[in-house]
């Protein structure tokens, strides 16, 4: 059975659930969000990724209704929501601090939103039971928030924000307070729950790994602007700017000037008296235009001899080795002082490592391994 790929953003007939249209938000003289336009589709797991102060939390608070845009409109299912107060929005939020009510039991916390809709008691009971089961909290229903662990509190917060079956769930750094192991497990749990409930999730995070793991699409933000919106693979493999390339994962940035050599290929003159690099690019560059080659360390091979068929190869010496257990990252100094990071999997024991400090080596990569960026 051919599974259809979930990609509503590529379908022009699909109507977005959320629409930011030229949204600007100022706090006094400070511009938190700068003329931002963005569509988020139903059933998406959308990540807002950026360093602190980039405006991602402000965007989320505008969706929840705690802030209103200074300019522009935000539409939810085709309706401008500027005038709708938070308590009337079909949007729920999971707070970074969880914001569990300390005076209420786990059960009452989850039932809090349902009771506001004055549902019959039996319905509330059923729904809370369902949420407790979904988040595996049945045993803790009678406990108070201070009597359970951090991971359990996190699940209570999630259950509470899902209880009202919102059209849109906002998660503000939902895993920030958990330790690394638990965070990984919870990431998959979140994806599971998102799939099961079919709710649209918007997650705010500064952790790129988290965003890449959970999200269907990622918006990389900087200083109130969206730098790029794409699937995690596109963001990683085809960043549109040095900022995005640098923010996501590890990357080598080699600055230089471009020269077209035809067939979508460009030469990058990166230092004097050296052989220029060759790179394929979808975008065009004019003669002598300043540009950057962005290339991931794991796409660079390291060898003692010059590989005969290599499209790009350059000689250098090992400056530093970072041993990460499963991987090793070699810092190789090229003539002219540029340092390139090359990563290899440690398939052999460390005692049998081929290179050590100060060894002369060749680093090489294919012409499609990196991307050429103009900014």
């Amino acid at each position: 059975m051919a599974e259809t790929i979930f990609a509503p953003w590529d379908d022009p007939t699909e109507k977005p659930l959320i629409r930011f249209r030229n949204v600007t938000k100022r706090f006094g003289a400070f511009t938190a969000i700068d003329d931002l336009t963005l569509d988020i589709f139903e059933r998406e797991f959308f990540a807002l990724l950026g360093p602190s102060g980039c405006g991602k939390t402000t965007m989320m608070r505008m969706l929840a209704g705690f802030e209103t845009p200074s300019e522009g409109t935000i539409e939810l299912a085709g309706q401008d929501i500027a005038a709708v107060p938070p308590n009337k929005r079909a949007v729920n939020m999971m707070f970074q601090s969880y914001a569990l009510f300390p005076h209420l039991s786990v059960y009452d916390n989850i039932a809090f939103g349902l009771r506001r809709d004055s549902l019959p008691r039996a319905d509330i009971d059923a729904r809370v039971g369902e949420m407790l089961k979904l988040t595996r909290l049945e045993k803790f229903a009678r406990r108070k928030p201070h009597q359970i662990s951090g991971g359990q509190r996190q699940r209570v917060a999630l259950a509470r924000s899902l209880a009202k079956a919102p059209k849109l769930l906002l998660l503000d750094e939902p895993l920030g307070a958990l330790d690394a192991k638990l965070r990984q497990a919870t990431q998959f749990e979140l994806m599971d729950i998102q799939e099961k409930t079919g709710t649209t999730f918007v997650i705010v995070t500064h952790d790129q790994e988290e965003a890449m793991t959970v999200a269907s699409r990622v918006a990389v933000m900087d200083e109130g602007r969206v730098m790029q919106v794409a699937t995690p693979e596109r963001i990683y493999e085809a960043p549109e700017s040095v900022y995005v390339a640098d923010f996501i994962g590890d990357v080598n940035i080699v600055p230089g000037t471009a020269r077209a050599v035809g067939d979508g290929l460009f030469q990058l003159n990166w230092a004097e008296d050296t052989v220029p690099f060759i790179a394929a690019s979808e975008g065009a560059f004019s003669e002598g235009q300043a540009c950057h080659l962005a290339i991931r360390p794991e796409k660079i091979a390291i060898s003692a001899e010059r590989p005969p068929e290599a499209e790009n190869a350059v000689h250098g010496k090992v400056l530093d080795i970072a041993y990460l257990g499963n991987l090793s990252t070699y810092h190789v100094e090229l003539p002219g002082g540029q340092v390139i990071k090359a990563q290899t999997a440690n398939t052999r024991r460390i005692s049998r490592r081929s290179f050590t400090w100060e060894d002369p080596v060749w680093v090489s990569w294919t012409k499609t391994a990196g991307v050429l960026l103009d900014q």
């Binding site: 209704g65 601090s97 809090f112 506001r116």
Partner: protein, 289 residues
């Protein structure tokens, strides 16, 4: 050993300044009035046997025979409860506004609440006499504004006592509530609104329950001194204001009847201690649940 010393210090303090005086007062309440110094018998000079055999509960029985006493207790309770309630109604919004005020203002606002303590309590109560009297500031202003035609009689009434108590004890209500509200995480209110509460609902369902401890502490801090209050009813109240503090004073100084006055004081203490113990039991049970 260190722990023992640490615990011993406050207990010695309590023993010396609370328990021993209380035992003395309790002993006097079991004694008889006498024309001597001190004005009661027996004393330990009489020897142990006669000393203990002379003690009895006569004074407590006497308190039940005269209407005055239980009426004074009931009236004191009524005044203390009512003024605690008024103080809460006035103090809560003040504390709430303080906690919601911009960060840089809070220290100043706190200062303003504490400021009255820098002046003698007696002088401030006298000042209220100047404000509330027939020719006082309040009546002058109201007459000038045309709100009233003839000056109101406020001074020497129970109303003046309420005004005095609420004014005096307001900081004791505001400060603990402010402390509780200040600690309240703003995200909780947002979470409540996010889950469908209006502002008002969020206040009743989240803010009030979470400031409960402040409310209770503030209420005790107002209720306890208000119940035994003596200065305010004697200066601002009239002959119609019956309060146990005043009765106590009269027994001691006008009648020089120390034993009866001590009995009045012991009963007053019991009235105060019982609700506190009940409250603490309740708190403990809640913690355990």
């Amino acid at each position: 050993m260190q722990r023992f010393v640490l615990i011993a210090v406050p207990y010695t303090w309590l023993l010396a300044l609370f328990l021993i005086p209380f035992v003395i007062v309790f002993k006097i309440s079991l004694s008889d009035i006498a024309l001597s110094i001190p004005p009661y018998t027996p004393t330990l000079e009489d020897g142990f046997g006669p000393f203990f055999s002379a003690l009895d509960f006569e004074n407590f029985v006497f308190l039940t025979t005269d209407d005055l006493y239980w009426k004074a207790y009931v009236s004191s309770l009524r005044i203390a409860v009512t003024s605690t309630a008024i103080t809460l109604l006035v103090g809560y919004p003040i504390a709430y506004a303080m906690a919601r005020a911009p960060e840089e203002w809070r220290a100043t606002l706190m200062m303003l609440v504490i400021l009255p303590f820098w002046t003698s309590f007696l002088i401030r109560v006298y000042a209220w006499m100047g404000i509330l009297s027939q020719e006082g500031v309040l009546n002058q202003v109201l007459l000038w504004l045309g709100v009233i035609d003839a000056p109101l009689t406020i001074l020497n009434t129970t109303t003046a006592v309420y005004i005095g108590i609420v004014y005096t004890y307001l900081p004791f209500m505001v400060l603990p509530i402010y402390a509780a509200l200040d600690r309240l995480d703003g995200a909780l209110i947002e979470a409540a609104e996010d889950l469908g509460c209006s502002r008002v609902q969020a206040f009743w369902l989240v803010t009030i329950p979470l400031s409960k401890n402040g409310i209770i502490a503030g209420s005790f801090l107002v209720f306890i001194p208000a119940l035994g209050e003596f200065v305010i009813p004697s200066l601002l109240g009239g002959s119609g204001t019956l309060m146990i503090g005043k009765v106590l004073w009269e027994e001691f100084f006008n009648n020089r009847d120390w034993p009866v006055a001590s009995a009045v004081a012991v009963i007053l203490l019991l009235i105060l201690i019982i609700p506190i113990i009940l409250f603490q039991r309740n708190q403990q049970r809640q913690e355990e649940a």
